[in-house]
């Protein structure tokens, strides 16, 4: 089962002072065990561009700039047996504490 893992900021990060897990170690471990297929950090939202087509006309605009401070800053594509396994992968990502992680399963088109 594939899960898209959106790595997001959060207005209320963890207040626990113990050091966060290391992102490099997280990537290495989950690449090795086959649970992480791909992923990357994203450039800030100031670099975002929106593309729409309406009535055959191309509309390109700057942004979007989210109203809130909760934005997607990266993604990882996971391959896990089930949601519990995906949750276990997500919980050890440093951004689970500094921000939050959103897990979205791939739609079943079968």
């Amino acid at each position: 089962m594939k899960y898209m893992m959106f790595v997001c900021t959060d207005t209320e990060p963890d207040t626990d002072k113990t050091p966060e897990p290391d992102i490099e170690a997280w990537v290495t471990e989950n690449d090795a065990n086959g649970r992480r297929l791909d992923g990357h950090e994203l450039a800030p939202v100031s670099a975002a561009t929106t593309v729409r087509v309406r009535g055959g006309e191309l509309l390109v605009s700057d942004g979007p700039f989210a109203e809130t401070k909760e934005v997607v800053v990266g993604f990882d594509l996971l391959e896990c047996a089930d949601l519990d396994e995906a949750i276990e992968v997500a919980r050890t990502h440093p951004m689970a504490r500094a921000g939050r992680i959103e897990l979205r399963p791939f739609a079943d088109l079968g």
């Binding site: 047996a81 089930d82 949601l83 519990d84 897990l103 399963p105 079943d108």
Partner: protein
Amino acid sequence: MASAAAEATARASRAPIVAPLVRVAGDSPRPGGAGGGRGGGGGPPGPGAPPPPPARDSRAQIVATLIRVTGDWTLAEDCAQEALVQALQRWPAEGVPANPAGWLMTVARNRATDVLRRAAVERRKLHELAAYPPAVADPGAPDGEEEVVDDRLRLIFTCCHPALALEARVALTLRTICGIPTADIARAFLVSESTMTRRLTRAKTKIADARIPYRVPSGPALAERLPGVLAVLYLLFTRGYDTDGEPAFADEAIRLVRLLDALMPGESEISALLALFLFQHSRRAARRDAGGDLVPLDRQDRARWDHAAIAEGRAVLGRVREDGPYALQARIAATHAAATSVETTDWPAIAAWYDALAARTPSPVVALNRAVAHGYAYGPAAGLALLAEARAGGALDGYPLALAAEADLTARGGDRERAAALFRRAAARTHAEPERRALLDRAADLDP
């Protein structure tokens, strides 16, 4: 005698919950294979007919196993339902089979096979169903038994998965494990039946789409997930205990925690929750007066408490080795249950349990109850001091029970005029009519 009467009332009150067992989704039962060719003779029993006790207890097992084998929640529920309907139709005439649970499982499984075969899809599921050991042929086979037990646990943990909304967890537990009709759940949660149907469908869809596993977590994950399961049962119980709640939900919560306690022996918080439920439930006959109004603990007729339930609660609590939050609440309830009156209650013990509870799970309501306990144990001044502490930061602002507690402590401290005014302020903030009236009565008692 009092408890027998209470039992009868409890049974009568659950009639609307049990009766719709004969409501069946889909067409009439048509057993394939082993079910035998039964004619259409004899309509379904009237909606008032109670299901045979073995059928009731088997339902969760059948649903749990069919979900594991087919992965289809709705199919599992429908097939369990049909097996129960067949039992209602056939057992009165043919006699209860030697292995009722096995009979029901076979009928349900045959029905599921039939539906899947007719749908002509899901060959893998069909194969698994065919491979499932025939329950009727091996009554009480220990291996099969263990598997069935496991399935019910799996079902409980999946229904209570934290990735589902809390309200969906409660509704799914009631619908899938307890077999309570959607309409009754909707009524208890003050939403329309179609809203509740959508909520249940959304939850089942999420389970499938997000692939929430049908599994009991193991190792450290179990310790993380168990409190969530118990929280759902607690909510279910209080929903049966509330003024406008559904009394049968309290019985269902007790049945479920009993099941958990049997399936996961040695888990202190499960036993503690069972004990807590038993103590609270023991007061059910004394909690309301003839007019249906709530009777506070200090005015309850303690002879009407269910002393058998109290004794069982005490025995269950005796097995608890670790004092988690439920164990502390159960110890408080046990102390109340052991007293013959408010005056002879061991308040210093209760105050100490509340100290421990406040340290372990601090919350404004625990702090409020702690203040009340200290007020009884060490005098109104001690209670008022802790109440002021509990209110710091405005946590209990506008909470009528905090005002009522202040009023009670003030009255016992001797300031009748101020106490009466406080009771009236508490009444003004209370929406439930019986509670409001009780507070106004207290105020009137204090007037010169």
